[in-house]
Amino acid sequence: MLDYDFMRQAFAAGGIVAVLSGLVGYFLVLRGQTFAGHALSHVGFTGATGAILFGLSPLAGLVGFTVLAGIGMGLLGEKLSARDVAIGMMLSLALGLGLLFLHFYTAYATEATALLFGNVLAVGPSALLSLAVLSGLSLLALGLIARPLLFSSLQPELAEAKGVPLRTLSVAFLVIVGVAVAECAQIVGVLLVFTLMVGPAAAAQNCTSRFGLGLGLAALLALGEAWGGIILAWETDWPTSFWITCLSGIAYLGSLLVGWLARRGAGIVRPVPLVAQTSSSAE
Protein backbone atom coordinates (compact mmCIF):
# COMPACT_ATOMS: atom_id res chain seq x y z
CA MET A 1 0.00 0.00 0.00
CA LEU A 2 2.99 2.31 0.54
CA ASP A 3 4.09 1.67 -3.06
CA TYR A 4 1.70 4.37 -4.19
CA ASP A 5 2.58 8.06 -4.01
CA PHE A 6 -0.93 9.06 -3.03
CA MET A 7 -0.90 6.64 -0.11
CA ARG A 8 2.46 7.87 1.17
CA GLN A 9 1.18 11.43 0.90
CA ALA A 10 -2.04 10.49 2.67
CA PHE A 11 -0.09 8.99 5.59
CA ALA A 12 2.18 12.01 5.79
CA ALA A 13 -0.69 14.50 5.61
CA GLY A 14 -2.82 12.51 8.05
CA GLY A 15 0.09 12.24 10.48
CA ILE A 16 0.99 15.93 10.38
CA VAL A 17 -2.58 17.07 10.82
CA ALA A 18 -3.43 14.53 13.49
CA VAL A 19 -0.56 15.50 15.77
CA LEU A 20 -1.41 19.19 15.50
CA SER A 21 -5.12 18.51 16.02
CA GLY A 22 -4.50 16.32 19.05
CA LEU A 23 -2.29 18.89 20.77
CA VAL A 24 -4.43 21.93 19.94
CA GLY A 25 -7.58 19.95 20.75
CA TYR A 26 -6.28 19.14 24.22
CA PHE A 27 -6.15 22.83 25.11
CA LEU A 28 -9.46 23.42 23.36
CA VAL A 29 -11.17 20.85 25.59
CA LEU A 30 -9.34 22.13 28.68
CA ARG A 31 -10.56 25.66 27.97
CA GLY A 32 -14.12 24.54 27.31
CA GLN A 33 -13.93 26.07 23.84
CA THR A 34 -14.80 23.03 21.73
CA PHE A 35 -17.71 24.98 20.32
CA ALA A 36 -15.22 27.50 18.91
CA GLY A 37 -13.53 24.72 16.96
CA HIS A 38 -16.86 23.67 15.55
CA ALA A 39 -17.78 27.24 14.64
CA LEU A 40 -14.47 27.93 12.92
CA SER A 41 -14.86 24.91 10.67
CA HIS A 42 -18.21 26.20 9.42
CA VAL A 43 -16.70 29.57 8.66
CA GLY A 44 -13.88 27.75 6.90
CA PHE A 45 -16.37 26.13 4.55
CA THR A 46 -17.39 29.56 3.28
CA GLY A 47 -13.74 30.49 2.84
CA ALA A 48 -12.95 27.34 0.93
CA THR A 49 -15.91 27.52 -1.43
CA GLY A 50 -15.27 31.24 -1.99
CA ALA A 51 -11.65 30.47 -2.83
CA ILE A 52 -12.70 27.80 -5.33
CA LEU A 53 -15.12 30.24 -6.94
CA PHE A 54 -12.35 32.79 -7.39
CA GLY A 55 -9.90 30.19 -8.65
CA LEU A 56 -7.76 30.06 -5.52
CA SER A 57 -6.75 26.97 -3.58
CA PRO A 58 -9.42 25.84 -1.10
CA LEU A 59 -6.78 25.49 1.64
CA ALA A 60 -5.86 29.18 1.28
CA GLY A 61 -9.52 30.15 1.62
CA LEU A 62 -9.99 27.83 4.57
CA VAL A 63 -6.97 29.10 6.49
CA GLY A 64 -7.70 32.73 5.66
CA PHE A 65 -11.25 32.58 6.93
CA THR A 66 -10.67 30.43 9.99
CA VAL A 67 -7.74 32.59 11.12
CA LEU A 68 -9.73 35.82 10.65
CA ALA A 69 -12.71 34.32 12.45
CA GLY A 70 -10.38 33.11 15.21
CA ILE A 71 -9.06 36.65 15.71
CA GLY A 72 -12.61 38.00 15.79
CA MET A 73 -13.74 35.43 18.34
CA GLY A 74 -10.70 36.06 20.49
CA LEU A 75 -11.25 39.83 20.49
CA LEU A 76 -14.94 39.53 21.32
CA GLY A 77 -14.05 37.01 24.01
CA GLU A 78 -16.49 36.93 26.91
CA LYS A 79 -19.09 38.83 24.97
CA LEU A 80 -19.52 35.79 22.74
CA SER A 81 -19.75 33.19 25.45
CA ALA A 82 -23.40 33.67 26.32
CA ARG A 83 -24.67 34.10 22.80
CA ASP A 84 -25.29 30.62 21.48
CA VAL A 85 -28.13 31.76 19.29
CA ALA A 86 -26.18 34.61 17.68
CA ILE A 87 -23.25 32.29 17.00
CA GLY A 88 -25.54 29.59 15.65
CA MET A 89 -27.14 32.08 13.28
CA MET A 90 -23.73 33.26 12.09
CA LEU A 91 -22.72 29.68 11.43
CA SER A 92 -25.84 28.90 9.46
CA LEU A 93 -25.28 32.06 7.45
CA ALA A 94 -21.68 31.04 6.78
CA LEU A 95 -22.70 27.57 5.59
CA GLY A 96 -25.49 29.07 3.49
CA LEU A 97 -23.07 31.46 1.85
CA GLY A 98 -20.76 28.54 1.16
CA LEU A 99 -23.63 26.73 -0.51
CA LEU A 100 -24.27 29.77 -2.71
CA PHE A 101 -20.62 29.87 -3.78
CA LEU A 102 -20.83 26.18 -4.67
CA HIS A 103 -23.99 26.83 -6.64
CA PHE A 104 -22.19 29.39 -8.81
CA TYR A 105 -19.35 26.96 -9.31
CA THR A 106 -21.29 24.01 -10.62
CA ALA A 107 -18.47 22.14 -12.34
CA TYR A 108 -17.55 19.91 -9.43
CA ALA A 109 -20.08 18.30 -7.16
CA THR A 110 -17.30 16.18 -5.71
CA GLU A 111 -15.64 19.36 -4.46
CA ALA A 112 -18.50 19.92 -2.03
CA THR A 113 -18.29 16.39 -0.67
CA ALA A 114 -14.53 16.70 -0.30
CA LEU A 115 -14.90 19.92 1.66
CA LEU A 116 -17.68 18.63 3.87
CA PHE A 117 -16.33 15.15 4.53
CA GLY A 118 -12.66 15.40 3.58
CA ASN A 119 -10.54 13.44 1.16
CA VAL A 120 -7.13 12.63 2.52
CA LEU A 121 -6.27 10.45 -0.48
CA ALA A 122 -6.42 13.50 -2.75
CA VAL A 123 -3.73 15.50 -0.90
CA GLY A 124 -1.05 16.30 -3.48
CA PRO A 125 2.63 17.19 -2.93
CA SER A 126 2.08 20.95 -2.91
CA ALA A 127 -0.83 20.72 -0.45
CA LEU A 128 1.29 18.40 1.70
CA LEU A 129 4.04 21.01 1.81
CA SER A 130 1.53 23.72 2.84
CA LEU A 131 0.17 21.46 5.58
CA ALA A 132 3.66 20.74 6.88
CA VAL A 133 4.72 24.40 6.94
CA LEU A 134 1.48 25.55 8.59
CA SER A 135 1.71 22.75 11.15
CA GLY A 136 5.29 23.63 11.96
CA LEU A 137 4.45 27.28 12.50
CA SER A 138 1.39 26.44 14.60
CA LEU A 139 3.30 24.03 16.82
CA LEU A 140 6.04 26.60 17.29
CA ALA A 141 3.49 29.23 18.30
CA LEU A 142 1.71 26.77 20.61
CA GLY A 143 5.01 25.87 22.23
CA LEU A 144 5.67 29.55 22.82
CA ILE A 145 2.37 30.26 24.58
CA ALA A 146 1.75 26.83 26.17
CA ARG A 147 2.72 27.79 29.71
CA PRO A 148 0.63 30.94 30.18
CA LEU A 149 -2.11 29.26 28.12
CA LEU A 150 -2.32 26.37 30.57
CA PHE A 151 -2.26 28.76 33.53
CA SER A 152 -4.98 31.00 32.14
CA SER A 153 -7.08 28.04 31.02
CA LEU A 154 -7.16 26.65 34.54
CA GLN A 155 -7.43 29.92 36.46
CA PRO A 156 -8.10 32.99 34.34
CA GLU A 157 -8.56 35.41 37.26
CA LEU A 158 -5.36 34.36 38.97
CA ALA A 159 -3.42 34.42 35.69
CA GLU A 160 -4.66 37.92 35.00
CA ALA A 161 -3.55 39.03 38.45
CA LYS A 162 -0.11 37.57 37.77
CA GLY A 163 0.23 39.68 34.65
CA VAL A 164 -0.78 37.18 31.95
CA PRO A 165 -2.29 39.08 28.98
CA LEU A 166 -5.52 37.10 28.72
CA ARG A 167 -6.92 38.76 25.62
CA THR A 168 -3.72 38.49 23.58
CA LEU A 169 -3.33 34.89 24.62
CA SER A 170 -6.89 34.06 23.70
CA VAL A 171 -6.54 35.61 20.24
CA ALA A 172 -3.20 33.88 19.63
CA PHE A 173 -4.66 30.53 20.66
CA LEU A 174 -7.74 30.90 18.46
CA VAL A 175 -5.52 31.75 15.48
CA ILE A 176 -3.68 28.48 16.10
CA VAL A 177 -7.05 26.72 16.41
CA GLY A 178 -8.07 28.32 13.11
CA VAL A 179 -5.03 26.86 11.35
CA ALA A 180 -5.57 23.46 12.98
CA VAL A 181 -9.23 23.44 11.97
CA ALA A 182 -8.36 24.33 8.38
CA GLU A 183 -5.78 21.55 8.24
CA CYS A 184 -8.14 19.12 9.87
CA ALA A 185 -10.82 19.96 7.31
CA GLN A 186 -8.42 18.79 4.60
CA ILE A 187 -8.37 15.33 6.15
CA VAL A 188 -11.84 14.73 7.57
CA GLY A 189 -13.84 17.66 6.14
CA VAL A 190 -15.41 20.68 7.83
CA LEU A 191 -18.32 18.68 9.22
CA LEU A 192 -16.11 16.14 10.98
CA VAL A 193 -13.39 18.36 12.43
CA PHE A 194 -14.70 17.47 15.89
CA THR A 195 -13.72 13.86 15.44
CA LEU A 196 -9.99 14.56 15.15
CA MET A 197 -9.70 17.69 17.30
CA VAL A 198 -12.02 17.03 20.21
CA GLY A 199 -12.41 13.24 20.24
CA PRO A 200 -8.80 12.26 20.99
CA ALA A 201 -8.31 15.15 23.45
CA ALA A 202 -11.47 14.32 25.39
CA ALA A 203 -10.54 10.63 25.44
CA ALA A 204 -7.05 11.48 26.71
CA GLN A 205 -8.49 13.59 29.53
CA ASN A 206 -10.73 10.71 30.55
CA CYS A 207 -7.75 8.35 30.71
CA THR A 208 -5.19 10.37 32.65
CA SER A 209 -5.29 13.20 35.13
CA ARG A 210 -1.72 14.30 34.41
CA PHE A 211 -1.35 17.25 32.08
CA GLY A 212 1.77 16.14 30.21
CA LEU A 213 0.58 12.57 29.77
CA GLY A 214 -2.83 13.74 28.57
CA LEU A 215 -1.31 16.06 26.00
CA GLY A 216 0.92 13.30 24.63
CA LEU A 217 -1.90 10.77 24.65
CA ALA A 218 -4.19 13.16 22.73
CA ALA A 219 -1.60 13.52 19.96
CA LEU A 220 -0.95 9.77 19.92
CA LEU A 221 -4.64 8.87 19.76
CA ALA A 222 -5.25 11.35 16.95
CA LEU A 223 -2.30 9.91 15.03
CA GLY A 224 -3.50 6.35 15.56
CA GLU A 225 -7.03 7.23 14.48
CA ALA A 226 -5.88 9.06 11.33
CA TRP A 227 -3.46 6.34 10.23
CA GLY A 228 -5.83 3.56 11.27
CA GLY A 229 -8.55 5.22 9.24
CA ILE A 230 -6.36 5.37 6.14
CA ILE A 231 -5.35 1.71 6.50
CA LEU A 232 -8.95 0.56 7.00
CA ALA A 233 -10.05 2.64 4.01
CA TRP A 234 -7.38 0.93 1.92
CA GLU A 235 -8.54 -2.50 3.06
CA THR A 236 -12.26 -1.90 2.67
CA ASP A 237 -12.47 0.81 0.02
CA TRP A 238 -14.87 2.67 2.34
CA PRO A 239 -14.32 6.41 2.99
CA THR A 240 -11.34 7.29 5.20
CA SER A 241 -13.34 9.88 7.14
CA PHE A 242 -15.89 7.23 8.08
CA TRP A 243 -13.19 5.01 9.55
CA ILE A 244 -11.59 7.93 11.41
CA THR A 245 -14.92 8.84 13.03
CA CYS A 246 -15.39 5.18 13.95
CA LEU A 247 -11.99 4.89 15.58
CA SER A 248 -12.44 8.23 17.33
CA GLY A 249 -15.80 7.08 18.69
CA ILE A 250 -14.37 3.76 19.87
CA ALA A 251 -11.43 5.51 21.54
CA TYR A 252 -13.80 7.88 23.33
CA LEU A 253 -16.07 5.08 24.55
CA GLY A 254 -13.01 3.13 25.63
CA SER A 255 -11.75 6.14 27.56
CA LEU A 256 -15.03 6.38 29.46
CA LEU A 257 -14.55 2.77 30.54
CA VAL A 258 -10.91 3.37 31.49
CA GLY A 259 -11.89 6.45 33.48
CA TRP A 260 -14.66 4.56 35.26
CA LEU A 261 -12.35 1.67 36.15
CA ALA A 262 -9.66 4.06 37.37
CA ARG A 263 -12.13 5.89 39.60
CA ARG A 264 -13.44 2.61 40.95
CA GLY A 265 -9.89 1.50 41.64
CA ALA A 266 -9.23 4.72 43.53
CA GLY A 267 -12.39 4.24 45.55
CA ILE A 268 -14.18 7.25 44.13
CA VAL A 269 -17.77 6.23 43.79
CA ARG A 270 -18.88 9.30 41.97
CA PRO A 271 -17.26 12.61 41.09
CA VAL A 272 -17.79 15.35 43.64
CA PRO A 273 -19.89 18.06 42.00
CA LEU A 274 -18.02 21.22 41.16
CA VAL A 275 -19.14 24.76 40.59
CA ALA A 276 -20.60 24.67 37.12
CA GLN A 277 -19.04 27.13 34.75
CA THR A 278 -21.35 28.77 32.32
CA SER A 279 -19.41 29.15 29.13
CA SER A 280 -19.68 28.62 25.43
CA SER A 281 -18.92 24.96 25.90
CA ALA A 282 -22.58 24.08 25.57
CA GLU A 283 -21.68 21.03 23.53
Binding site: V29, L30, R31, G32, G143, L144, I145, A146, R147, P148, L150, F151, S152, S153, L154, Q155, E157, L158, A159, E160, A161, K162, G163, V164, Q205, N206, S209, R210, F211, G214, G259, R263, A266, I268, P271, V272, P273, L274, V275, A276, Q277, S279, S281
Partner: protein
Protein backbone atom coordinates in the same frame (compact mmCIF):
# COMPACT_ATOMS: atom_id res chain seq x y z
CA UNK B 1 4.50 50.13 58.09
CA UNK B 2 1.40 50.47 55.97
CA UNK B 3 0.69 47.59 53.59
CA UNK B 4 -2.42 48.96 51.88
CA UNK B 5 -3.51 52.59 51.84
CA UNK B 6 -6.56 54.09 50.10
CA UNK B 7 -6.77 57.86 49.74
CA UNK B 8 -10.23 59.08 48.83
CA UNK B 9 -10.61 56.21 46.34
CA UNK B 10 -13.56 55.84 43.98
CA UNK B 11 -13.93 52.59 42.06
CA UNK B 12 -16.21 52.29 39.06
CA UNK B 13 -17.17 49.40 36.81
CA UNK B 14 -18.21 51.06 33.58
CA UNK B 15 -20.59 53.84 34.57
CA UNK B 16 -21.54 52.16 37.84
CA UNK B 17 -19.89 53.48 41.00
CA UNK B 18 -19.01 50.57 43.27
CA UNK B 19 -17.45 52.46 46.18
CA UNK B 20 -16.55 56.12 46.61
CA UNK B 21 -14.50 58.23 48.96
CA UNK B 22 -12.72 55.29 50.59
CA UNK B 23 -9.94 56.21 53.01
CA UNK B 24 -8.17 53.46 54.87
CA UNK B 25 -4.80 52.17 55.98
CA UNK B 26 -4.03 48.53 56.70
CA UNK B 27 -0.80 47.87 58.55
CA UNK B 28 1.73 45.20 57.59
CA UNK B 29 0.98 41.92 59.35
CA UNK B 30 -2.68 42.71 59.99
CA UNK B 31 -5.47 40.19 59.42
CA UNK B 32 -8.42 42.13 58.03
CA UNK B 33 -11.80 40.61 57.26
CA UNK B 34 -13.46 42.14 54.20
CA UNK B 35 -17.18 41.94 54.86
CA UNK B 36 -20.30 43.01 53.08
CA UNK B 37 -23.21 41.54 51.15
CA UNK B 38 -22.76 40.17 47.65
CA UNK B 39 -22.43 42.96 45.14
CA UNK B 40 -21.00 45.37 47.73
CA UNK B 41 -17.72 45.50 45.81
CA UNK B 42 -15.44 43.12 47.71
CA UNK B 43 -14.02 41.54 44.55
CA UNK B 44 -13.76 44.95 42.86
CA UNK B 45 -11.76 46.27 45.81
CA UNK B 46 -9.39 43.29 45.61
CA UNK B 47 -8.97 43.77 41.86
CA UNK B 48 -8.04 47.41 42.43
CA UNK B 49 -5.37 46.35 44.95
CA UNK B 50 -4.08 43.88 42.34
CA UNK B 51 -3.72 46.73 39.86
CA UNK B 52 -6.35 45.24 37.55
CA UNK B 53 -8.70 48.18 38.01
CA UNK B 54 -7.58 51.82 38.12
CA UNK B 55 -9.40 54.03 40.64
CA UNK B 56 -11.42 56.67 38.83
CA UNK B 57 -10.52 59.05 41.63
CA UNK B 58 -8.04 59.01 44.51
CA UNK B 59 -4.97 56.84 44.89
CA UNK B 60 -4.12 53.37 46.18
CA UNK B 61 -0.72 52.72 47.76
CA UNK B 62 0.74 49.25 48.22
CA UNK B 63 3.75 49.26 50.55
CA UNK B 64 4.09 52.92 49.62
CA UNK B 65 3.83 52.62 45.82
CA UNK B 66 1.06 52.42 43.23
CA UNK B 67 -0.27 48.89 42.61
CA UNK B 68 1.37 47.02 39.74
CA UNK B 69 -0.27 44.35 37.63
CA UNK B 70 1.46 41.03 38.26
CA UNK B 71 2.95 42.12 41.61
CA UNK B 72 4.82 39.06 42.93
CA UNK B 73 4.45 40.24 46.53
CA UNK B 74 0.74 39.50 46.41
CA UNK B 75 -0.70 36.04 46.82
CA UNK B 76 -4.23 35.93 45.42
CA UNK B 77 -7.00 33.40 45.64
CA UNK B 78 -9.87 34.31 43.33
CA UNK B 79 -13.39 33.27 44.12
CA UNK B 80 -13.51 29.52 43.73
CA UNK B 81 -14.77 28.00 40.56
CA UNK B 82 -13.41 25.09 38.62
CA UNK B 83 -14.38 24.66 35.01
CA UNK B 84 -15.87 21.25 34.31
CA UNK B 85 -13.22 20.36 31.75
CA UNK B 86 -10.31 20.95 34.12
CA UNK B 87 -11.57 18.82 36.98
CA UNK B 88 -9.94 15.69 35.63
CA UNK B 89 -6.48 17.16 36.27
CA UNK B 90 -4.60 16.38 39.47
CA UNK B 91 -4.31 18.91 42.26
CA UNK B 92 -0.59 19.06 41.60
CA UNK B 93 -1.04 20.11 37.96
CA UNK B 94 -3.64 22.64 39.02
CA UNK B 95 -1.47 24.24 41.70
CA UNK B 96 1.75 24.00 39.68
CA UNK B 97 0.25 25.81 36.69
CA UNK B 98 0.61 29.02 38.71
CA UNK B 99 4.33 28.53 39.46
CA UNK B 100 5.96 30.79 36.88
CA UNK B 101 2.78 30.37 34.83
CA UNK B 102 3.18 33.85 33.36
CA UNK B 103 6.43 32.89 31.58
CA UNK B 104 6.36 32.12 27.86
CA UNK B 105 7.39 28.73 26.55
CA UNK B 106 6.55 25.16 27.44
CA UNK B 107 4.91 24.43 30.81
CA UNK B 108 7.99 22.76 32.28
CA UNK B 109 8.84 23.59 35.87
CA UNK B 110 12.41 24.20 36.96
CA UNK B 111 13.74 22.27 39.95
CA UNK B 112 13.32 25.39 42.10
CA UNK B 113 9.72 25.79 40.98
CA UNK B 114 8.96 22.15 41.72
CA UNK B 115 10.42 22.58 45.19
CA UNK B 116 8.34 25.70 45.70
CA UNK B 117 5.12 23.84 44.76
CA UNK B 118 6.10 20.97 47.04
CA UNK B 119 6.77 23.41 49.89
CA UNK B 120 3.46 25.23 49.39
CA UNK B 121 1.52 21.94 49.42
CA UNK B 122 3.37 20.70 52.52
CA UNK B 123 2.71 23.98 54.31
CA UNK B 124 -1.05 23.55 54.11
CA UNK B 125 -0.84 19.76 54.53
CA UNK B 126 -2.13 19.06 51.04
CA UNK B 127 0.75 17.02 49.60
CA UNK B 128 -1.37 13.86 49.53
CA UNK B 129 -4.43 15.62 48.16
CA UNK B 130 -2.41 16.93 45.23
CA UNK B 131 -1.95 13.43 43.86
CA UNK B 132 -5.67 13.03 43.26
CA UNK B 133 -7.76 14.53 40.46
CA UNK B 134 -9.73 17.62 41.45
CA UNK B 135 -13.05 15.87 40.94
CA UNK B 136 -12.14 13.42 43.69
CA UNK B 137 -11.70 16.19 46.27
CA UNK B 138 -14.25 17.84 48.51
CA UNK B 139 -14.87 21.58 48.47
CA UNK B 140 -12.74 22.08 51.59
CA UNK B 141 -9.88 20.03 50.16
CA UNK B 142 -9.89 22.03 46.93
CA UNK B 143 -9.92 25.22 48.96
CA UNK B 144 -6.79 24.07 50.76
CA UNK B 145 -5.06 23.48 47.40
CA UNK B 146 -5.98 26.97 46.26
CA UNK B 147 -4.63 28.50 49.47
CA UNK B 148 -1.36 26.65 48.94
CA UNK B 149 -1.31 28.03 45.41
CA UNK B 150 -1.65 31.56 46.78
CA UNK B 151 1.48 30.93 48.87
CA UNK B 152 3.67 30.32 45.81
CA UNK B 153 6.36 32.98 45.65
CA UNK B 154 6.09 33.59 49.42
CA UNK B 155 3.89 36.69 49.24
CA UNK B 156 3.87 39.52 51.79
CA UNK B 157 0.20 40.21 51.19
CA UNK B 158 -2.50 37.56 50.87
CA UNK B 159 -5.79 38.49 49.18
CA UNK B 160 -8.44 35.80 49.60
CA UNK B 161 -11.75 36.20 47.82
CA UNK B 162 -14.54 34.30 49.58
CA UNK B 163 -12.59 31.19 50.58
CA UNK B 164 -15.49 30.11 52.81
CA UNK B 165 -18.15 30.07 50.15
CA UNK B 166 -19.99 26.74 49.92
CA UNK B 167 -18.15 25.20 52.88
CA UNK B 168 -19.92 23.72 55.87
CA UNK B 169 -19.34 25.48 59.23
CA UNK B 170 -16.59 23.17 60.51
CA UNK B 171 -14.70 23.45 57.19
CA UNK B 172 -15.13 27.20 57.35
CA UNK B 173 -13.51 27.30 60.77
CA UNK B 174 -10.61 25.06 59.78
CA UNK B 175 -9.98 27.21 56.70
CA UNK B 176 -9.88 30.38 58.81
CA UNK B 177 -7.60 28.67 61.33
CA UNK B 178 -5.27 27.59 58.52
CA UNK B 179 -5.00 31.11 57.12
CA UNK B 180 -4.46 32.50 60.63
CA UNK B 181 -1.63 30.03 61.21
CA UNK B 182 0.00 30.91 57.86
CA UNK B 183 -0.31 34.61 58.59
CA UNK B 184 1.41 34.22 61.96
CA UNK B 185 4.07 31.90 60.56
CA UNK B 186 5.09 34.08 57.60
CA UNK B 187 4.15 37.52 58.94
CA UNK B 188 1.83 38.20 56.02
CA UNK B 189 -0.82 40.86 55.75
CA UNK B 190 -4.14 39.15 55.06
CA UNK B 191 -7.27 40.57 53.48
CA UNK B 192 -9.92 37.86 53.72
CA UNK B 193 -13.28 38.48 52.08
CA UNK B 194 -16.41 36.76 53.30
CA UNK B 195 -20.09 37.47 53.43
CA UNK B 196 -20.47 36.12 56.91
CA UNK B 197 -18.79 37.59 59.93
CA UNK B 198 -18.83 34.84 62.52
CA UNK B 199 -16.22 32.38 61.22
CA UNK B 200 -13.68 35.25 61.16
CA UNK B 201 -14.41 36.68 64.61
CA UNK B 202 -11.56 34.95 66.42
CA UNK B 203 -9.01 35.46 63.68
CA UNK B 204 -9.22 39.00 62.42
CA UNK B 205 -7.54 42.05 63.90
CA UNK B 206 -9.91 44.47 62.20
CA UNK B 207 -12.87 44.36 59.88
CA UNK B 208 -13.41 46.30 56.65
CA UNK B 209 -17.12 46.61 56.00
CA UNK B 210 -18.43 47.50 52.56
CA UNK B 211 -21.99 48.58 51.93
CA UNK B 212 -24.03 51.14 50.12
CA UNK B 213 -20.99 52.38 48.18
CA UNK B 214 -18.96 53.14 51.29
CA UNK B 215 -16.34 51.42 53.40
CA UNK B 216 -15.64 51.35 57.13
CA UNK B 217 -12.50 49.95 58.73
CA UNK B 218 -12.11 49.31 62.42
CA UNK B 219 -12.21 46.71 65.16
CA UNK B 220 -15.28 44.48 65.32
CA UNK B 221 -16.48 46.34 68.42
CA UNK B 222 -16.25 49.68 66.61
CA UNK B 223 -17.73 48.68 63.27
CA UNK B 224 -20.19 45.89 63.91
CA UNK B 225 -22.66 47.89 65.96
CA UNK B 226 -26.15 49.03 65.13
CA UNK B 227 -25.31 52.75 64.89
CA UNK B 228 -22.12 52.25 62.81
CA UNK B 229 -23.67 49.91 60.29
CA UNK B 230 -26.84 52.01 60.11
CA UNK B 231 -24.65 54.96 59.16
CA UNK B 232 -22.79 52.85 56.57
CA UNK B 233 -25.90 51.41 54.95
CA UNK B 234 -28.02 54.51 55.38
CA UNK B 235 -30.77 52.29 56.77
CA UNK B 236 -31.71 51.10 60.26
CA UNK B 237 -29.54 48.11 61.16
CA UNK B 238 -29.39 46.16 64.38
CA UNK B 239 -26.65 43.85 65.58
CA UNK B 240 -27.76 40.93 67.70
CA UNK B 241 -25.35 39.10 69.95
CA UNK B 242 -26.05 35.42 70.54
CA UNK B 243 -23.34 33.85 72.67
CA UNK B 244 -20.17 34.66 70.82
CA UNK B 245 -21.92 35.05 67.48
CA UNK B 246 -23.07 38.29 65.92
CA UNK B 247 -26.03 38.70 63.60
CA UNK B 248 -26.55 41.76 61.47
CA UNK B 249 -30.24 42.43 60.98
CA UNK B 250 -32.04 45.04 58.95
CA UNK B 251 -35.71 45.35 59.90
CA UNK B 252 -36.62 41.69 60.08
CA UNK B 253 -34.28 40.59 57.29
CA UNK B 254 -30.94 39.17 58.27
CA UNK B 255 -28.38 41.00 56.14
CA UNK B 256 -25.90 38.14 56.05
CA UNK B 257 -28.35 35.41 55.26
CA UNK B 258 -26.67 33.71 52.33
CA UNK B 259 -24.06 31.72 54.16
CA UNK B 260 -26.41 30.18 56.70
CA UNK B 261 -28.94 28.95 54.24
CA UNK B 262 -26.78 26.80 52.07
CA UNK B 263 -24.87 25.36 54.98
CA UNK B 264 -27.75 22.96 55.28
CA UNK B 265 -27.17 20.78 52.25
CA UNK B 266 -24.12 18.55 52.13
CA UNK B 267 -23.07 18.78 48.49
CA UNK B 268 -23.93 22.28 47.56
CA UNK B 269 -20.80 23.35 45.71
CA UNK B 270 -22.67 23.58 42.47
CA UNK B 271 -25.29 25.84 43.96
CA UNK B 272 -23.07 27.95 46.19
CA UNK B 273 -22.84 31.15 44.17
CA UNK B 274 -26.34 31.13 42.86
CA UNK B 275 -27.91 30.46 46.21
CA UNK B 276 -25.95 33.14 48.02
CA UNK B 277 -26.75 35.76 45.45
CA UNK B 278 -30.33 34.77 45.35
CA UNK B 279 -30.88 35.40 49.02
CA UNK B 280 -29.46 38.86 48.77
CA UNK B 281 -31.38 39.86 45.72
Amino acid sequence: MTAIAFENVTLKLGARTIVSGVDLAIGAGEFVGLLGPNGAGKTTLLRAILGLLQPSAGAIRLFGAAPLKGDRRIGYMPQHRVAAATRSLTGWDYVASAAGGWRWGLPRLSAAERDEVGWALETVGAADLARRPLMALSGGERQRLLISQALLGRPKLLLLDEPLISLDPSRQQSTVDLVKRLQAEFGMTVLFSAHELNPLLGAMDRVLYLGNGHAMLGTVDEVVTGPSLSRLYGAPIEVLRLGRRLFVVSGDIEVEAGAHRHDACAHHDHAGHGAAEHHHA
